[in-house]
């Protein structure tokens, strides 16, 4: 199939970018979106142009590296899907596809479609861990965890840190990501000793990075490739509020 692409091109963090039009003539519907980008880049290299820079790693929907705002939606038109798992069969011959980087003050563009998501790393560094060395995996049932909590913690832990929640949020808020990370540890015994401090630190770092404030539109949970629920945002609010009230 034949596609018209409108892609954000920006040479460097400092340079001004613009949308550039490309046409690709022989796109196979079985290709993934990133394979389509590879074909485009191959063509650009053959023409002597600079290939389009974009993030990717696993191409299996598990690492969270791929991004791209496709036709106005984070990770494209399908729900529960990362860009690497999006396939060209969901587009039609002759379609125009608009491809942009995540847009947020806290996610500055590095080049073309690549953005710097290290703000997420700094939020994790602020408290998204357990300080004590937990050693190797404990015996099953040595540490009793209610099934519901294990399930909720697991659901929260499926967040791959891709940043689609920030990208789609009208406020560029990171609360779905931070909510998932705080929830995951607050629900498990290993997370208890640092539970309050973690909530305060991670929220403070999130605010420092310049993400917006949640207005509960719920857009993030629709676009999240892992289906993280905004219940996690409510839990973060509770955790933070309780921690602040109890703070000495």
């Amino acid at each position: 199939m034949r596609l018209n692409l409108k892609i954000w091109r920006q040479k460097s963090a400092k340079a001004n970018g613009k949308m550039v039009d490309y046409t690709l003539n022989e796109v196979n519907p079985e290709m993934s979106f990133l394979e389509m980008m590879d074909v485009l880049n191959q063509q650009l290299v053959e023409w002597g142009d600079e290939p389009v820079a974009f993030d990717h790693d696993c191409r299996e929907g598990i690492c969270g590296m791929c991004s791209m705002f496709i036709n106005g939606r984070a990770h494209g038109p399908m729900t529960g899907t990362t860009t690497c798992q999006l396939h060209m069969r969901h587009f039609k011959d002759g379609d125009t596809i608009v491809i942009e980087p995540w847009r947020a003050a806290a996610f500055p563009v590095i080049k073309d479609l690549m953005v710097d998501r290290s703000a997420f790393d700094r939020i994790i560094q602020a408290g998204g861990y357990v300080s004590v060395n937990t050693g190797s995996a404990p015996d099953a049932n040595a540490l009793p965890i209610p099934k519901e909590n294990a399930d909720m913690a697991f659901d929260a832990a499926t967040c791959i840190g891709c940043g689609a929640c920030v990208a789609t949020c009208k406020n560029a808020s990171a609360m779905l990501f931070v909510g998932a990370k705080i929830s995951q540890l607050s629900l498990l015994p290993q997370g208890q000793p640092e539970r309050e401090e973690r909530a305060i630190r991670m929220v403070e770092q999130m605010d420092k990075e310049g993400f917006g404030n949640c207005t509960n539109t719920g857009a993030c949970e629709v676009e999240c490739p892992k289906g993280i629920s905004i219940e996690n945002i409510a839990r973060m609010n509770r955790e933070y509020l309780k921690a602040k009230i109890a703070q000495k």
Partner: protein
Amino acid sequence: MSGKTQSGLIKSSIGKKVFMGLTGLFLCLFLAGHLAGNLQLLLPAEVARDQFNAYAKFMTTNPAVKVLSYLTYFSILFHAVDGLYLAWQNKKARPQAYYKKDDAANAGWASRNMAILGTLLLVFIVIHMKSFWYEMHFGSVPMYASVEHGELKDLYTLTVSAFTQWWYVLIYVVSMAVVGFHLWHGFGSGFQSLGMNHPAYTPILNGFGKGFAVVVSVLFAILPIYIYLTSLN
């Protein structure tokens, strides 16, 4: 984990949201009370005049109501300032807009326009308070002697004559639509901000909030329309 963490609750994003939720939900209670009082305007004119004016006197003089009204003034101011500050921060968080963004794909219209709806509400509240609250407290509302309740300020007649102007009715009806949209999202959102989200109760609460938004705004809007239509004959 080490190092200091001691910034105030209100400085944080979540703290500001919690105050939005608290003040917003308190204002929902206020609206319900305000509406119940105003529905007296639907009574037959002879009964309504005395009853409404006596109610207005009670609402402006009773000490317990005074406390509640100060809490309401404070909530409106705090809610407006906090909300507009949050909206300004949110604008700053995305300095460069998308070339193409499909906003309707994943979020409702009301939820995406809370700040605009809120600003319109603020304008309405100023007009509304100038017309009735200011007149009642500081203006010169004529007094008359009622049979049952003694000397009363005639807020009823002031209100009824205000709504004989069609454009005034229009401002009110449009503003009530704004209230409806603000609460369509706001009611449920307030509980989410306070950290309340439960798979069983949240859908019920959100549904109730939408019902509340429709019922409150429609009943409020009926009043000026009713008064206008009655004034025609």
